[in-house]
């Protein structure tokens, strides 16, 4: 935590140093800087920057594994938007984002506030909540696939003990996406919790004490102190949750294979199917670009919204 306090000082220190140094030193520094940067930049350009540009390029081409690539303008986009399966995938993915976004942010914050208190056992509970983070998606799918089983799953067993009829979670198109959302929240809410925890621990204690002395109750302190100070963390958590929501794939692939009745068929599975099972690289790249545009629009809208609040 102490390292944080000195961080702005470090930044301005770097600026100060550059003012003091002469031109010769500075060109030496430029050379040194690029020497240090070069291994990462080489990897970044080769495996991040160029593939991004290539993806956009391929989306305008007919590009099968065999044969020469050919520029075909927007044909790939026309093709995927005429494909009912792609539209279903967009709708399903949007539904998944809708089901997960608010619980992931609200629950992430609630867990962080609960476990930020100075009470015995919070460290243990934090570790328990964080444990799913280290579980791989295939395992999450295998485990929750069974927990949600209609006949032998624990979820239905405990629901029936409180009088709820067994639900065919993963076999019923109405319940398959909520089941995936619950699984995902269990699996990944911990990342949001940790980000909120880090932000909460940075809010000074005196602020709360002063407000308490002025007669502010817990709710007022939450609304007027905690929430405003959490805005940067809130913005980050919301953006990450939404982007990751649009990128959902593994859970759906392992638990339901996109079914039943394509009710959990998502955009990334469409990319996978188109590129690596039908070997149509152009339309798959176009679907990838659409995914990028969707996440960009959502990120920008969310940033605007955060500023407005």
């Amino acid at each position: 935590m102490t390292s944080l306090a000195s961080q702005p000082a470090g930044r301005s220190g770097a600026r100060r140093a550059s003012v003091q140094e002469g031109g010769a030193v500075r060109s030496g520094m430029t050379l040194a800087a690029y020497l240090f940067l070069s291994p990462y930049l080489a990897l970044f350009i080769a495996f991040m920057l160029l593939p991004t540009l290539a993806a956009v390029g391929i989306s305008f081409m007919r590009w099968d594994i065999l044969g020469t690539p050919e520029f075909i303008g927007l044909d790939n986009y026309r093709q995927i938007f005429a494909d009912p399966l792609f539209l279903t995938a967009i709708r399903n993915t949007f539904y998944f984002v809708f089901l997960t976004a608010i619980p992931m942010v609200v629950l992430g914050l609630a867990l962080a506030m609960l476990l930020d208190q100075k009470l015995k056992g919070t460290a243990f509970v934090r570790t328990v909540v964080f444990l799913p983070y280290v579980v791989m998606v295939s395992t999450v799918g295998i485990l929750w696939g069974w927990l949600f089983d209609k006949g032998t799953g624990l979820v239905n067993y405990y629901l029936t003990t409180i009088g709820i009829e067994p639900i065919a979670w993963l076999k019923d198109p109405h319940w398959s996406m909520p089941a995936l959302a619950i699984t995902t929240i269990w699996w990944t809410v911990n990342t949001n919790m940790i980000i909120f925890l880090a932000a909460l621990q940075d809010i000074s204690e005196e602020l709360h004490d002063a407000a308490t002395l002025d007669g502010a109750g817990p709710w007022q302190r939450f609304v007027y102190i905690t929430l405003p100070l959490l805005r940067p963390a809130m913005a980050l958590v919301t953006a990450l949750t939404i982007i990751n929501g649009w990128r959902v794939f593994g859970q759906a692939y392992v638990m339901t294979q996109g079914g039943p009745e394509a009710s959990t068929f998502v955009i990334v599975q469409y990319i996978y199917l188109t590129a690596f099972q039908n070997f149509e690289m152009g339309p798959a790249a176009a679907a990838g670009v659409v995914l990028l545009l969707i996440t960009l629009v959502f990120s920008l809208a969310q940033m605007k919204l955060m500023k407005a609040i």
Partner: protein, 284 residues
């Protein structure tokens, strides 16, 4: 870190009781699936579907683990995941730390642009890259190799971002003194900067290793033989088609085996990890 906190909600007895009730509920909801996985993996066949569900097996056995290792190339998948995870982590730490040093502590033309471009990739859905990456690697005959599973992954921007935050916090005077003493920039980087920022390096190591160990989509595309297949891809085949008749105890044993390395890695470095996250600059 925790000790500075006062009892915000827990001041009254009622508040504290409520907090503990909630903590028990949270522990049950998040812990039960993991516990169920462990318990089922050591159950004999006759107990797996016992009604009501039994949380303590009557006659614990390791036969599910035996069956798992006998019927599937678990050791090969495990070894592949370990090799890929370790190589990716070492490579990522090396290139990220080298890149973060000038970004955090030097002034040079292009710095802002480079940082902007690198950090913009945070918002990139990586799935977009898989088609061109696959085509590119395929044209060099590199698909289904350790290379395709390790090197592209180390271009990730997260480690650079996190280490930049850590490196900025190290006082300027230390660097000036070190360079004055003839230590050189690399000497300062290697002998002073890195040892001072161990929590940051540990956090990047955890994130990278866990991400690599659990990475699913890219290895699903980039591997097509058991020789290179990693655990997540191998395990996914247990539930599809061939695995439909698989006993739940064997599936849960696979889950335990797959989770153990990352769980141990995480628990061992957990202390650094929370400090590392706290230092990301994501604060109120």
């Amino acid at each position: 870190m925790q000790d500075q906190r006062s009892n915000r909600a827990g001041k009254s007895l009622g508040g504290r009781t409520l907090a503990y009730v909630l903590m028990i509920v949270v522990t049950a909801l998040w812990g039960a699936p993991i516990l169920w996985m462990l318990v089922t993996s050591i159950k004999p066949e006759s107990e797996i579907y016992a009604y009501p569900p039994a949380w303590i097996p009557d006659a614990p056995t390791l036969e599910a683990y035996g069956a798992l290792f006998q019927r599937f190339p678990m050791l090969t998948w495990f070894r592949n995941s370990a090799v890929v995870g370790i190589l990716t982590t070492v490579l990522t730490l090396a290139v990220d730390a080298l890149a973060a040093y000038p970004l955090a502590r030097m002034q040079f033309p292009g710095r802002r642009v480079i940082m902007g471009v690198i950090f913009a990739t945070f918002l990139l859905p990586y799935e977009l890259l898989f088609v061109p990456l696959f085509l590119g690697l395929n044209s060099y005959g590199l698909v289904d190799s350790v290379f395709s599973l390790t090197v592209p992954a180390s271009a990730n921007a997260f480690g650079v971002f996190l280490l930049t935050q850590f490196f900025q916090a190290v006082p300027r005077e230390l660097e000036d003194a070190a360079i004055m003493d003839g230590c050189g920039r690399f000497g300062f980087f290697w002998r002073i900067l890195l040892p001072l920022t161990k929590p940051g390096l540990a956090t990047v190591a955890i994130f990278t290793f866990v991400a690599s160990w659990n990475n699913f989509f890219w290895p699903l595309i980039a591997t097509n033989s058991d020789e290179t297949r990693t655990l997540p891809v191998g395990l996914a085949t247990l539930v599809g088609g061939a695995g439909m008749s698989m006993k739940q105890s064997v599936l849960m044993a696979s889950a335990v085996v797959a989770t153990l390395p990352t769980a141990i890695f995480f628990l061992a470095l957990q202390r650094h990890f929370v400090r590392g996250i706290a230092a990301t600059g994501i604060k109120g």
